[in-house]
């Protein structure tokens, strides 16, 4: 059933996300036409438009995630969702997975658009694709302190894992807040207002814990000679002259993973035992 729920969630959310990515595709084609006809003012306008669409995609993703939980679970569509022969945890799990996919897609899209715009403008000075790549590569190499390609890939992976945990944490906080807002204790309030209050309540509590966690100075560090654990900028197991590129705290994200599990269990329980569909 989880697979069917995920399939149908994608179908439902594609209706709000689809137009954004379609408009990006059209803008992309228009930019290529302007490039061929070498119309600089139109190239500037279309580049700005694509960057704007990229920002819009991030905003629409967040709105779609909120809508996926609020409208399809606790609005009129809840009469459909909550009477399906599936558990509340399956409903929550499918929506979380689909939300996470859309967040990842919007991040990949943002990175792709940034790279495309850089290449688009560099392309004016080079005549071949190889020339464009070489120009960009040389520009990067000339920047001081740039890591080699292997270290760069490791750094990107560590950053992506960190962003993935943050995105998952955000989704669980949103779903938990909206679920609490639909229990009998808060049903007299406006749902969105109640959800915002709950969200900031959790945010403040978790922020305090995050600040406290900084007193435990364990980090994952990507350095020129590999990945290592670091304590207070001291790399463990690597020579002290090793150059440090990326340093990500460990305790905060570990705590967030634990909270994600707790929020999933608590939200599922509240959905099963305490939520009333209006």
């Amino acid at each position: 059933m989880l697979g069917k729920l995920i399939k149908n969630e994608f179908k439902a959310t594609a209706h709000s996300m689809g137009p954004i990515y379609l408009s990006a595709l059209i803008t992309f084609c228009v930019m290529l036409i302007f490039f061929v006809i070498k119309n600089k003012p139109l190239m500037v306008i279309s580049s700005v438009a694509l960057a704007g669409i990229c920002i819009a995609a991030l905003i629409v993703t967040l709105i779609a995630i909120i809508g996926m939980f609020n409208k399809s679970l606790y609005g009129n569509q809840g009469y459909l969702s909550f009477t399906l022969p599936v558990s509340a945890r399956s409903l929550l799990g499918s929506k979380t997975i689909v939300s996470l996919c859309w967040v990842v897609i919007s991040f990949v899209f943002a990175i792709a658009v940034t790279c495309f715009i850089i290449f688009y403008w560099v392309a004016q000075t080079s005549e071949s694709v190889k020339g464009i790549i070489e120009t960009v590569y040389n520009a990067l190499q000339s920047m001081q302190g740039m890591p080699d390609s292997e270290t760069a890939i490791k750094s990107i992976i560590v950053i992506l894992v960190y962003v993935f945990i943050k995105a998952l944490f955000l989704i669980f906080k949103v779903s938990f807040s909206l679920t609490i807002a639909n229990t009998k204790f808060m049903q007299k309030m406006n749902t969105i207002l109640a959800a915002i209050l709950v969200y900031f309540g959790i945010y403040i509590v978790l922020q305090v814990v995050t600040v406290l966690s900084t007193y435990i100075p364990f980090y994952v560090a990507v350095a020129s000679k590999g990945i290592a654990l670091s304590i207070n900028d001291t790399l463990i197991g690597l020579p002290q002259d090793t150059k440090l590129f990326v340093s990500i705290p460990i305790v905060g994200p570990l705590f967030e993973i634990v909270v994600c599990g707790a929020l999933y269990a608590i939200t599922g329980n509240i959905m099963t035992k305490h939520v009333n569909i209006k």
Binding site: M1, K4, K7, N8, K11, A12, H15, S72, N76, Q77, G78, Y79, L80, F82, T83, L84, P85, V86, S87, T183, K184, K188, T272, K273, H274, V275, N276, I277
Partner: protein
């Protein structure tokens, strides 16, 4: 016959307002049951508890001996009084959706009924009239081969011709041996189809009887309803 619905000491309140006050009753399988009561008598709350849309209550509401769960939801076909399909869906999407989740859903029958109801297959729900949406929801529910049909005010707010159409659709499409629970306050139109009735008001079960017993007392269901609910119009 076994009980398909068992309610024991069920209470539900909204704040200080008690809508169901420690009610208990059982309903046998294979009947067409009228859940009757004036507006605000707690019919919808009772139904929402049975189908798993209201979860904070005390007491037991059991379907085939089980509390509302994925198992009970797989055997109950529920028609709410609200329109609940997402705006973007078209009838074909709704049929595929039901076919995905309900193993007892008859897709071929649904497409045939869609044509006979003259509902366009590829028109979005958003652009449909309320009447068309209600027809589609009725179709989706009645194309299931369920053990229990719970229909909440399917006749509310529609004209007499539509009422006859809805009743006819329910009567011709529910499988033999299944149970139909239909809530309404428009008794005159439907009393001929009921085998038994359950009247609730002021949070209590005021009458549970088979229709034959009511008729043996020289009354119609409507007469019994008027007698039971006289209080609603009395000045204290």
């Amino acid at each position: 016959m076994s009980e398909i619905i068992t309610v024991r000491n069920l209470s539900k309140s909204y704040g200080s307002h008690l809508v169901l006050d420690n009610i208990s009753f059982g309903l046998e399988e294979g009947q067409i049951i009228g859940l009757l009561g004036p507006n605000g008598s707690g019919k919808t709350s009772l139904i929402k508890i049975l189908v798993g849309l209201i979860n904070d209550y005390s007491g037991d509401a059991l379907i085939d001996g089980n509390r509302p769960s994925p198992y009970t939801k797989s055997m109950v076909a529920y028609l709410p009084e609200k329109t609940y399909l997402p705006d973007w869906m078209r009838p074909v999407d709704a049929i595929e959706y039901f076919a995905d989740f309900y193993v007892d859903f008859n897709k071929e029958k649904a497409y045939a009924m869609l044509d006979s109801f003259q509902l366009p297959r590829k028109q979005t729900i958003k652009s449909m009239s309320k009447g068309m949406q209600e027809k589609l929801q009725l179709l989706l529910v009645m194309c299931r081969n369920a053990r229990l049909y719970i229909l909440d005010e399917p006749l509310g707010g529609v004209d007499p011709a539509a009422r006859a159409f809805i009743l006819d659709t329910i009567m011709t499409n529910h499988p033999a041996g299944s149970t139909v629970m239909l809530s309404t306050h428009l008794i005159n139109d439907v009393e001929r189809i009921f085998n038994s009735v359950l009247m609730i008001g002021r949070g209590h079960v005021l009458l549970q009887s088979d229709v034959e017993s009511i008729r043996n007392n020289g009354m119609t269901v409507e007469d019994a309803f008027k007698e039971v609910f006289q209080y609603a119009w009395q000045v204290d």
